[in-house]
Subunit: 240 residues, 2 copies
Amino acid sequence: MARPAQPVQTRKRRARGSITPEEVLRGALEICAAESVEALTMPHLAQYLDVGATSIYWYFRSKDDLLDALTTEAFKRLYAQMPPLEGKTWDDALRAYFLAFRSIMRADRPMRDLAIMRGDRYSDETTKLIFTTIDNVLQLMVNAGFSPDSATRAYFTLSVYTRGVLLVETQLKSTGSLGISPSRAGFAEGLPVLSQRAEPESWSMVSDDDYEFGLTNIIQGFRDLLATELRSAAGTRRAG
Amino acid sequence: MARPAQPVQTRKRRARGSITPEEVLRGALEICAAESVEALTMPHLAQYLDVGATSIYWYFRSKDDLLDALTTEAFKRLYAQMPPLEGKTWDDALRAYFLAFRSIMRADRPMRDLAIMRGDRYSDETTKLIFTTIDNVLQLMVNAGFSPDSATRAYFTLSVYTRGVLLVETQLKSTGSLGISPSRAGFAEGLPVLSQRAEPESWSMVSDDDYEFGLTNIIQGFRDLLATELRSAAGTRRAG
DNA sequence: ACCTGAACACCGTTCAAGT
DNA sequence: ACCTGAACACCGTTCAAGT
């Protein structure tokens, strides 16, 4: 009946220097990928890395710090995968750019979740990376005749639209219960238009087709804008 | 020096029936409005209502239940304030609809936060409300010549864009530190296009002007789509 | 039937103490 | 210098016990 007074299993103390920030970051990323960003807690990460629950604080001042570092890494991965746009017309480039953006995001769950949850918490490094990438796209537009202002706004219109689609998709996936989905299709009964739709499952714009519908028509709007700007510029020249 | 052994201040026990679900909901809403949805915790709410910390659970099975009820209320408030669209052309109606949508959301912080955080967790009641409202808009579009499918996708394109703008704004406001903001304007140095922009503060599409830019151009894209659909329908009639 | 505090299993974080 | 557990102030939630 005699029992040792000590806990059955005590983790051995790690040697100093046996933990690195890179190792912590990698473990955190693995948890985010295998489970979710929500599942990433300090105790869980510590257990996963087999370190003391508070040892992580030696390398990251807070969980927020850790998430910042994770976000910076995610943006690096994102922009490293973005396709080159040289030689494309401005509209083909925009299309290819945002199709790739969405596709890469969808394939990397931690990236998608972090980008949406912490969309504005960019490190200086990330800001520089984003600006450089965006400017490449904008140059194509300005060369085609857009004003720098219109080009920037047009870019961000598509950026916000795309992030909105990713947000909706994240929400649908995480709760499992689709907000407006086939299970709710009955609610359309008696409504003149909605009841006529063939595919109620795409009412949230998360399918590839739905996303491309928006992308195509927004870019078409910008074509008209460009035509107007070119006309106006020509008019100014003629008047001046 | 003698001190009573009891706590200095013990809340008097509330009479049974002295708590109502409506009172709980109202208190929760007041906390969300005055502070934030994040500040709404069960202990905080209980203290605010001057009830025992766990008494709320008699009326709402969980915090999630409470948030669901709060979200349903928010959507009722939203759609009660949406303007009538009768007599408007489809494009004017879309414009007025989403301008109102964004404006109402921005003026009601709990509504905005709940709609974005819990975008897909609609109650049956809310789903019915949303569907009915949407169908009104869609009818105008179908009457103008859009197919039911195109009308629905066009609507959701604008809906997702608008929610994206609100998401970005929420993030900027909540952290205080703007992601791409004047404080980061220096990063645009040397970049051909971004360095030319007059107003770096609008790089996140949260200003009224920026939102309207996107709205206007997306709707313009839909005008072209309508023209194409009308042409195609005429061609089919001629061929048939 | 309704209201309650004690208690539980979590969280992020601090800190004094080990090595 | 680096790693650690105890401890703290939170959280949502359960439950037996009051009225």
